[in-house]
Amino acid sequence: MRQDLVLEQMSEDDDRSQPSDLRSSSSSINKTRNCSGSISASGSSTSASSSSSASSIPLSIPVTEYQSPYPDQVLENVLENVLCFLTSRHDRNAASLVCKSWWRAEALTRSELFIGNCYAVSPVRAMGRFSRVRAVVLKGKPRFADFNLMPPDWGAHFTPWVSSMTRAYPWLEKVCLKRMSVSDNDLALLAKSFLGFKELMLVCCDGFGTSGLSFIASKCRQLRVLDLIESEVSDDEVDWISSFPEGESCLESLIFDCVECAINFEALEKLVARSPSLKKLRLNRYVSIVQLYRLMIRAPQLTHLGTGSFSPSEVMAQGDSEPDYVFAFATCKSLVCLSGFREITPDYLPAIYPVCANLTSLNFSYANITAEQLKPCHKKLPQTSNLLGLQAVAATCKELRELRVFPVEAQEDIEGPVSEVGLQAISEGCRKLQSILYFCQRMTNAAVIAMSENCPDLEVFRLCIMGRHRPDHVTGEPMDEGFGAIVRNCKKLTRLAVSGLLTDRAFSYIGKYGKLVRTLSVAFAGDSDMGLKYVLQGCPRLQKLEIRDSPFGDAALHSGLHHYYNMRFLWMSSCRLTPQGCQQIARAMPNLVVELIRYGSLENQEKLDDVETLYMYRSLEGPRDDVPEFVTILRADG
């Protein structure tokens, strides 16, 4: 499914990181090969000797101009027809580097534009190159912004992008934004500018409210997808559900579980009733279980369901018979993904049993239920995510690919029920595991090593031992060996998050074995600059590096100069950097934007001889022009 593909891409990183514009925009044009001879279509060539190779696409030709008897246009048409089958942007990036003709053909045939960092390139430049785009994926703030490590109003505004798109892409169909600031005006502009607009996905975005949603709902007549995922939506008291036009709708996906305000249920019920193509519906917690029932019987074709509160409303008449929830679930025979349960009243849980056997994804992470209550579900679940009762999960969910275990109380000093026991059990029972996010209070190296040995397919390993600097609670040793085993044994590992007590040794392991690691997240770890040096020098595929509260300083920062242009960004907060050290980087690398973000008031600026947060990223545009006052961009000539 298209949507799932995009979501996958959201967390993927660029494999081939070199921005081709950096090369071709400089003075290397002379060296570019021109496969198809003269640019003009008329083809002025008449030389006989060159006709022989015209039938095959000439790849290994000398640098000098090549005269072909056939019009260039034929060749380009062939290319375009072939290139349109290339969907992966990595493949396309590679193809565009072959020669100028391929570059051009690829640019004309790219229909989805992915911008991993909205400040790396300007809208004008991007849209100038890719003129026939139908879908845009834009990512803004770095991930640590989710955890209040970045002041609000830092940037990542959608406005300049949407303005440019209205001019460049009148046939735009799809927009996906992640961690962008989107205003109601942006949404209004989007809604009225693109007649064929079909899909809007806003992931971890903010800055807009229900009035913005209302514009989208009312004006986008072709809307198929409206997905609001973990976004902050302000309550403007606008009934956006009622804004969907009358008549049959082509809605396929409506996700609004993150919207923290009540909705007009009658309007929603009618909308669902007139959306025969609706497959994905994720309700917010203001929808009661009785209302859920009514929706489910109107939409038995659903494949993805977010169940809302899964609880009765505040007051209900006694003696009224409750609807047959089991029946409702039994009717939705195509359900494969279940989530919600936001305020679950546990005695309703058995209602989901009819669908358990077919579920591939189950999200209970918002539910306050015990492992006991989940037991009957386990036996029927082929794959799950976000479950409690890990040992039961391990015993029954043999096909599990992705698991996320969140803390019920996200504090450090609470003794929680999740520990190395669960991890060990999962590693033994779920051998096909590819991705794990695991919050716990305590851990042992043995369990982590066991996982590294039992789950060779792991691509994502994110372990968060919530107590800072916690060693192996059995041996008292640092967690170095555990993470070392992960990078050594999990040969497909691309994303890693470390925690617990870690010395530089752990980082030496990462640098030595983590050759495919693209994303690395570090917090409260390491002893000295060597730690960061190991990583910067050892991990050639590193794209995104986020570090907080670790003792890495200017020397360590300096050791990555050879690599920073290959990365999407580097984030370092509460480390040991100085403004001078960062200035050196800015001087050495003119295409890097080096931002220093501070939190205190302006007067304190001079007193700080340390850097609170460094956020730096490659960019073709130089310093951005929407810098808030708490951000300083270090200039190359500063």
């Binding site: 640590f144 989710d146 955890f147 209040n148 490590l149 971890c204 973990e230 902050e232 993150c258 609880s311 009765p312 409303s313 505040e314 007051v315 209900m316 008449a317 006694q318 305020e343 679950i344 009243t345 546990p346 005695d347 992470s365 918002y366 306050n368 015990t370 006991e372 209550q373 969140f406 803390p407 996200a410 504090q411 450090e412 000093d413 609470i414 305590r442 968060c464 919530m466 107590g467 800072r468 600097h469 916690r470 060693p471 008292g476 640092p478 007590l501 010395t503 409260f524 002893d527 907080r548 509260d549 003792p551 907060s573 509460s574 480390c575 040991r576 939190y599 001889d609 340390d610 609170e612």
Partner: protein, 244 residues
């Protein structure tokens, strides 16, 4: 400057952490530390620097500069867990939307014999039986809670009908509210029912029987604990003489 010396510390148990001296708040990061440690500012120079989880046994103020300004090393005491440990901003890395939800809610239905409607209450909103019963009193406002020494009874003053709060536990048994410690109750309670006393005769007997034994000068909570333990045991055996 490394936390390597942490290796010697005991497993960083909850009991060894006490950040009450640090006076940090949950405000934006970088809020000026107002601690007293000499090493703050300057050298380590990290405003939102490392948290110090050095075990209190270490004591010495010279153990590395990696402390958050504030003299947590000065604080010793029993191994009693601190009431409220200072939280670091953005740690653990859980999104705000999830954190709000994690406040967890435990909704159960409340039925009152004879009343035409059910209510839903979130048990997590209360910290004690007293609070819960107070809330129920508000909800079903014709009732008042009769204040015996440690009574759990609810009286409908209009009709003169007495109610007893009961609940269904996870095994499906109906029990008297108050028979287990509060936190356990929250976990095992599936639904509540205010039962007319006349129907709860067996349960009521138990309450009456134990009143004399609990007339001691202690905190109400402790009384309840004493009673609850006793009630637990009593419920197991059924050879009791009914109350006259």
């Amino acid at each position: 400057m490394s936390p390597a010396n942490l290796n010697e510390s005991s497993d960083s148990d909850v009991g060894s952490l006490n950040f009450e001296e640090t006076k940090l708040t949950l405000g934006l990061p970088g809020v000026e530390c107002r601690g007293t440690a000499a090493e703050s500012g300057g050298k380590s120079g990290v405003k939102r620097g490392f948290s110090n989880t050095i075990d209190l046994n270490l004591r010495s103020s010279s153990s590395g500069g990696d402390k958050r300004c504030g003299g947590e090393n000065d604080v010793l005491g029993s191994a009693k867990p601190p009431a409220a440990k200072t939280q670091m901003v953005g740690w653990p890395p859980v999104r705000a939307s999830r954190k709000n939800v994690m406040r967890s809610c435990k909704y159960v239905k409340v039925a009152v014999d004879g009343a035409p409607y059910l209510r839903k209450v979130d048990l997590e909103m209360y910290n004690s039986y007293q609070q819960l019963l107070g809330a129920l009193e508000d909800m079903f406002s014709c009732f008042t809670i009769r204040n015996y020494l440690n009574e759990r009874r609810i009286m409908d003053q209009v009709n003169g009908v007495e109610y007893v709060a009961t609940y269904e536990d996870k095994d499906g048994d109906w029990m008297l509210v108050g028979d287990v410690p509060w936190k356990m109750f929250v976990e095992i309670c599936k639904r509540l029912r205010l039962m007319k006393s006349s129907e709860a005769i067996g349960l009521e007997f138990i309450l009456q029987e134990h009143l004399p034994r609990t007339q001691v000068q202690v905190e109400e909570e402790d009384i309840c604990e004493g009673v609850t333990v006793a009630v637990q045991r009593l419920l197991v055996s059924f050879n009791l003489v009914p109350l006259v």
